[in-house]
Symmetry: C2
């Protein structure tokens, strides 16, 4: 059977639950496992599109909530859509805005029809409904849209998670109806909608929710939400292990908001394919970098004062090819934006290269051994 | 006669007082008139060395005061000198630190042996003497060193300027002695020392000071200080006109701290060859850009909200080739560092291209006509 969708996912190799694949989109393929840099406001902070490409990114994430408030999704649409606006010709995924509404907005009232919130910028009042969130993401023109969901924080009671799951499911159905109507209009870009799987770390709720989401359609991919929100790490891994056999094997799984290097490897081992996290660029702003032989370091440390070595001798990023630690320390201590840029380049390259190596090791059937030794070295160095 | 110095200045063409030339340095030639980007802390803010090269810069300026305080000139020397530290293989000029000591430092006591000041960073106490300032710049390893001077603000009394001139002259002699001793040691980079000509807008003081400086040696170039420090523009131009015939024709003249586009052209017309100013990068940080057909604009203006045109259609910079005004406005309003970077690229390219065009017009003997029409258009637009 031919698939009329421009979105396809092909699993290329498997090693335990870990797998490599290619997620095809209208803006090109994404080799998985893949880490997606976050371009919150339509730019990966401090970086040019060419630099984002050079660190090896294929797909980037942008934030619906932020772009809706500023410059406005209508403005982005008027200017030809988000790809054109930010001059990124690769695939883009936009989140639903749900996470930001619940975490950033000043006041919010969660109603059955949606969420009423006040902008963190100017206090203006807005209502996000499933339909509205679809309209915004449709206007932005990303390749992958995320369904509007409610994500209770880690540590929420089972009853609170059950209520949120039910709401998320009703919203998903409304998202799908609106998304299909927008697709039927045929006016926009070729897009696909991913549901967000919720349920926190409650196994039964996860299973029930997943079953209900699968009953709503054969989605091109699945967002795994409600993890990395404050729960213990072991509970996150156990949840992923329980979800693995229940998820369709032939669709990509996007573990939202992960992660740090060690978490990335743990999640890849448990069958996740796509990842995003602000850590590489946010840490860079604070002078923090990852080094495979040293763990996470802060460049402000006095020990880098006259250190003429590259930041990470194993790294092929511009930052590490060209500059030394003493210079990076100096710029970091001085608050120079060029340091933020150089460390962002390194941190992004570090995670993306980690995913590249993971792909290679999965293909070679050697993932678990490599992962164990990589983590041992990384964690021992981190002390 | 052969000149043993690796520094040479060759005037290539003249058009009135304006001239083109080539200033040769151990790190390559500088075609003049030339605008030098300011890399205060060893980086032109937000930009990579490759980007500084791409906007057409040949020589950059770095700040002695800032680098002395952080990371320390000893650290820079240990790491192989400033060229290596900041990965800039073109010529570098370091200022004397005098301007920063007088304008930034918390407390300062001007004594005959030097200036006692407190760091603006941590309040620590330091003494800059002419000898100390030579030692620092020698350690940094720039191509061109500037003599330690006292620069009274615009509006200073003739008596205050006379006293400062006398001190600057005594300091110059001490700078020369120390510089020659450092050169005789033969341990450092090939460097040359420029005196700073002072005298504010007092013609007689200017003439006396210049004569005394010339009596001290045949310098490879001359810094023109004490202008663009708050005096009326007309007084600055009159001062440059009076100095022109008194300055050695075969040496480059560096007008310190200038400038804005219109000031650059006025000064070129009056025989100046080298320029520096933080305006291109500082204005960029505030969202301000120069456009030849529109004057100085601020990207935060609502009129750019859905403006899909390039920032400056005449500009060949990356910023203007790739992005549109609405995107630049969005990033500027949002405080995204990528906007600072893109506008810095444009503003620097704008000034450097202006100097390039000036060179071409001088060679064609058409400078004054072109300058008049350029300024008319620029100023009319700025309205």
């Amino acid at each position: 059977m031919t698939d009329p969708s421009p979105f396809r996912f092909e699993v290329r190799s498997e090693d335990g639950a870990a797998r490599t694949g290619v997620f095809s989109t209208p803006h090109g393929p994404v080799e998985t496992p893949a880490f997606m840099p976050v371009g919150t406001l339509g730019a990966v902070k401090t970086l040019s599109p060419a630099e984002v490409r050079e660190v090896g990114a294929s797909m980037v994430l942008a934030n619906t909530y932020h772009l809706y408030l500023r410059p406005g999704s209508d403005v982005v649409a008027d200017l030809g859509g988000l790809h054109r606006f930010m001059r990124w010709d690769g695939p883009i995924l936009t989140d639903s805005g749900g996470y930001q509404v619940f975490s950033l907005a000043a006041i919010n009232e969660v109603r059955d029809d949606g969420v009423l919130f006040q902008s963190h910028l100017d206090g203006s009042r807005h209502l996000f409904t499933p339909e509205k969130v679809m309209d915004i993401q449709h206007a932005l023109g990303a390749d992958v849209l995320m369904a509007f969901d409610e994500c209770p924080p880690g540590g929420s009671s089972i009853e609170a998670v059950r209520v949120a799951n039910e709401r998320t499911l009703r919203w998903l159905e409304r998202c799908r109806i609106r998304f299909e109507a927008l697709v039927a209009e045929g006016s926009g870009a070729l897009q696909t909608l991913f549901p967000v799987l919720q349920g926190n770390v409650y196994g039964d709720l996860r299973s029930d929710h997943l079953r209900a989401v699968l009953a709503l359609g054969d989605w091109q991919g699945y967002g795994i939400g409600g993890l990395s929100v404050g729960e213990p790490k072991e509970a996150m891994w156990a949840t992923l292990e329980a979800m693995h056999p229940q998820l369709p094997a032939h669709r990509p799984r996007y573990l939202m908001g992960v992660g740090y290097p060690d978490d990335l490897l743990e999640a890849i081992e448990r069958g996740c394919d796509l990842f995003d996290c602000v850590a590489p660029t946010r840490n860079a702003r604070h002078g923090t970098a990852w080094i495979s032989t040293e763990g996470q370091v802060n460049l402000k440390s006095a020990r880098f004062r006259i250190d003429s070595r590259p930041l990470d001798a194993d790294c092929d990023a511009y930052c590490c090819r060209e500059f030394d630690r003493a210079y990076l320390r100096h710029l970091t201590v001085s608050g120079e934006a060029f340091a933020h840029r150089l460390l962002s380049i390194h941190n992004l390259r570090f995670l993306i290269r980690l995913a590249e190596t993971a792909r290679q090791k999965i293909q070679e059937g050697d993932f678990s051994t490599w992962k164990a030794s990589w983590l041992e070295r990384y964690r021992a160095a981190a002390g």
